[in-house]
Every structure is written in C-alpha cells, then in structure tokens.
Amino acid sequence: MNRRSPYPYWFVLPAAVIYSVLFLVPTAASFWFSLTRWDLATTTFIGLENFRQFFSEPFLLQGLGNTLIYAFLTCILKTTIGLLLAVYLTSNVFGQGLQRNLMFFPVLVSTIGVGLTFAALMHPTRGMFNVALANIGIAGPGWLVNPHLALYSVAIIDVWKGIGLATLIYIAGLATISPDYYEAAHIDGGTRQQMFWRITVPLVRPATITVLTLSLIGGLRSFDLIWSTTRGGPGFSSDVLASVVYKQYQAGFYGLSTAGNVILFLLIALIVIPLVSYFNRREVQQ
C-alpha cells in the first residue's frame, strides 16, 4: 500500500476554509450569545436564563410538538410516496417522461410563490378547493384557518412541493441497480411485489437514507413554507420551533432567539445523529 493515500485530505481544504469561516465560526459565536441577554449592542451574561424562559413559554411546548409531528409526517410521506413514484416512473409506462417533468414543477417554484398560491387555493370561501367541494355538496374545511387543521394542511403542501425532489433522488438511486438482478428474478419467476421488496428496497438504500435524512432535517427546521402560508397561525396552532425562534428574533430578544436556535439544533442532533450512525453501521456491515 502506498504511504501516501490516493485519497488525500487536502481535497477537503478549500471548501473547509469557506465552511469554517462562514459557518462554524459564527455558529460557535452564537452558542456564546445564547447565554446572554443581547440587544446587538450590549451583552449581559445571564447563564441558562434564556433556556429556562424558553421552556416556560406556554406556546413553546406546542411548537415543539408541532415540529415533531410536522417533521415525521412529511418525512414518512416523502420516503414512501417518493419510492413508489420512482419505481412507477422507471417502469416504462406511457407518458413517463412527461410525468417526471410535471411532478418536479412544484420544486421549481419559490416557497413564497407556493405559499401565496395555496393560500389562495385554500381560502375557506373563495378558494378553488372549497368551491370544488361545494359543487359536489361537501362543505370544505378551513384548511389554513382551522387551528386543528392548519399544521396538517401545510404539511400536505410541503409534501406536494418536495415529492419531486425525493422522487428524483430515488430515480438516480434506482439507476444504479443493475437490470441483471431483475432479469434473474424474472427468470426465477418472481412477482413484481417480490422484486420490489427483495431487490429494489435493499439496493436503493443510499437513496432512501438520503431522502430520509434530508426530509427529516428539513422538516424539523422547516420555516419558509409555514411562514408564508400561516405565519404560525391561526394564533399559535401551526407554530414550529423555527417560527418561534424567528418571532423571538423579530421582537428583538436576540439572546433568547439564539437560545432557541441552540435548542433546535440539539433536538435535531438528538434525533438525526443516532439515526445516521445506525445506517452507517449497517452500510459497513454490508
């Protein structure tokens, strides 16, 4: 074996510089600021007071719950529907190319654009959804104005917007599976279902892990879409951690907001790191 690895670490260097300076350093600084009362001009060290206050906020626990619901719901939907759609779109059906393109359109529109569009479509009296439902005699719900529904409506919009991306990643993953496996299985008399569970699902693991991780983290951090559709409303019913953090920032409670950011990070770390190491271990075993 060569003394010098053919995979040198200096490959990492230029990106590492950019990343450290523009991301790691400010983030480390913000950990410090989360322990202070900060009005951008003066800093007063107050220890864990911000965190205590954050957890005693009544709206906060609801936001935490909402974050978890939203993240897991969108993640599960995107990983399952994404895979099924990808399998469907690589099985040579009629109009396949067109369907692939159409399905990716929502990914292309800006989140603000999507927010505006769906706010209009989901308007309780004039929106297209409820008008269509009224035409067949059903009284449409207040999608974004009913406090019990708002979060789930936004989750659906999120899946609508992101499914194209999940499917695209799965399609790329499916492309790496050699057709020989399927031919062999076909010769052996395997059904479509068997081929799906025994060949496709195991071999598309890298894609599954990618989609799972990305949609989970994205869901936990989600802000733009929720903000542009409901702003965390009505009231606080669709608030998630990210929007609570933003509202604290908007109110000028910078130290408190930064503390919220830290909590958000810890939450994500607690969920994602074990998940990722679990997948890594299994990958090595393979």
């Binding site: 690895s5 053919p6 995979y7 040198p8 670490y9 490959f11 990492v12 990106a15 990343y19 523009l22 991301f23 400010p26 983030t27 600084a29 469907y88 099985s91 059906v93 009629f94 109009g95 396949q96 190319g97 369907q99 393109n101 159409l102 990716f104 359109f105 929502p106 292309l108 529109v109 800006s110 989140t111 654009g113 505006l116 569009t117 209009a120 479509l121 929106g127 297209m128 008008v131 609508w160 991306l165 695209l168 990643i169 790329a172 993953g173 492309a175 790496t176 599976i177 890298p206 990618t210 991780t213 983290i217 951090r221 733009d224 990210a242 950011n261 994500i268 770390a269 790191i273 090595v284």
Partner: protein, 274 residues
C-alpha cells in the same frame, strides 16, 4: 407497449394533471387577469387576457427592478453551483474512500451544516470584516458554505456504488490522486452531478432569507426579494403578484427541462455497471 403499462400511464397522467398541473394553471390564469377579477380568486377564464399588459407592469415596477434581480440571481446561482459540485464531489469522494476517524469528524461537521440553523448577525460581522458583505461574491461563498452539507451527503452516498477496482486500476497505471478523481471517478458520477446541479440551482435561485440578510441594497436585489416586496406593493393586485411568480419560475424551469434530458440520457447510456 404492454397494455398494463399503457393503462397505468394514462391514469398516472390524469392524476399528475390534477395534482401537479392545476395549481400552475391557476397561477397562469391569475397572472393574466385584470386586478378586479384576480381579487375574486376564482378558477375561471379571464374576460380579457392581459398577458402583455401585466408583464410590462411587473417588469417596469420600481425602475425595472426585476431585470437587475434576474441578473443577480443568475450570477449567484451559477457561481455557487459550480463550486458546490466541485467541492461536494471532492469531499464526498475522500470521505467515502478513506474511512477513518478524521473522515468521520469531517462528515460530522458537514452534517452539522444541515442541522444547525445559521446565526445571522455573527455571520454578517464576519462578512464585514472580510469586506464581503453586500457583495455578490460574498453571497456566493455563503451559499457554498450552507449548501456544502447537502452536496457532500449526496456524493458520499453515491460514490459507494463506484467500485474501488477502477481506482486501483488507475493507481497501477501510475495516476496521481487528482487524476484518479477527475478522469476516472467524476465522469461516472454524471447522474448524481446533474441531480445536484438541478437541486442546488433551484434551491439557490429560490432562496429568499439569505439574500435578504446578506445582500441588502437596491442594486443587489434577487428575484425572491422582488416577489416579497411586491406583496406589500401589490396588496390588492393579485394579478401582478401571480405574474411575478410566473416570471421568476421560468429560469428554474429552463434549467430543469434542459438538464433533465441529460439525466435521462446518462442513465439510459448504461451508467454504472453493477
């Protein structure tokens, strides 16, 4: 084509149409209506199609802000994506091929980039001290820093499917590390690279919050900012607002349509052998 595939395809097309196309038809209809009609938000044909009128009005708003915004957004996107593809592939490659403690630490730090929400004000201070605040190049570097995690994750996962034998063959032939990477591995990553390009360019082009904070100033507007600003400008002019949405969706659409053909071509040309 088998009958089953045909039927499935037709049903799929219909479902696709209802779910994915209708909202866009709605946007298009709203974009060409008059102000009063648009305010009603009905899914109906306009009495008179005002495509050109509305388009001109939106483009003209605030001294052709939209054109400046287009240019800025495109420059930022192209610059960032080029760097993200290059760096992401390089790092993902090393991490996957060389499992070690150092690699795990680097991977962990990269993953942190996905998880930790960026701290705005300290980042602005850093940019200022480097003289990069309010500059397009500063914005590019920010997008690279924030987008690196995704790129690295993507490449690392897929390089696993490229067999090491190819590397070893190249080493035996006397290739240096950068040659192995650029001449042997990178070309085989075409589908992933194209996916990365599409996803990152759409994401960066549609990014709103980052340019809002790190690139303020009238000459620095990006397309999402114009949409957001026009919301208060056009509070009762939904037709112009939706025309704006339509206009700023065109570049990502173009990118996608163009690269999509390449992705398909890459995959059907045999791609990577198992």
């Amino acid at each position: 084509m088998k009958k089953r595939a045909y039927i499935e395809g037709v049903i799929g097309l219909a479902v696709c149409f209802f779910i994915f196309v209708l909202p866009f038809i709605f946007i298009a209809l709203m974009a060409v209506k008059s102000k009063q009609e648009a305010a009603l938000m009905q899914f109906s044909l306009p009495a008179k199609i005002l495509l050109w009128d509305n388009l001109v009005q939106v483009v003209k708003t605030q001294d052709y802000m939209l054109i400046t915004a287009y240019i800025n957004s495109i420059l930022i996107t192209v610059g960032s994506v080029a760097l993200l593809v290059l760096f992401g592939a390089m790092i993902g490659y090393v991490l996957q091929r060389r499992p070690s403690r150092v690699s795990n630490i680097i991977y962990g730090l990269a993953l942190a980039g996905l998880m930790i929400p960026p701290a705005v004000v300290p980042t602005i201070w850093v940019l200022q001290s480097l003289g990069l605040f309010k500059t397009l190049s500063g914005m590019v570097l920010i997008q690279v820093a924030y987008g690196l995690a995704f790129s690295v994750l993507l490449y690392r996962a897929f390089i696993a499917s490229i067999p090491r034998e190819l590397d070893e063959a190249a080493i035996i032939d006397g290739a240096k590390p950068w040659q192995i990477f650029f001449k042997v591995v990178l070309p085989l990553l075409k589908p992933v690279t194209l996916t990365n390009i599409v996803v990152q360019s759409v994401g960066i082009f549609n990014d709103f919050t980052n340019p809002l904070y790190y690139l303020p100033g009238k000459n620095n507007v990006t397309v999402q900012l114009t949409l957001y600003n026009f919301q208060s400008q056009f509070t009762s002019q939904f037709n112009l607002l939706f025309m704006n949405i339509l206009l700023i969706t065109i570049p990502p659409l173009v990118v996608f349509v163009f690269f999509n053909r390449q992705i398909v071509a890459g995959m059907t040309a045999g791609g990577v052998k198992g």
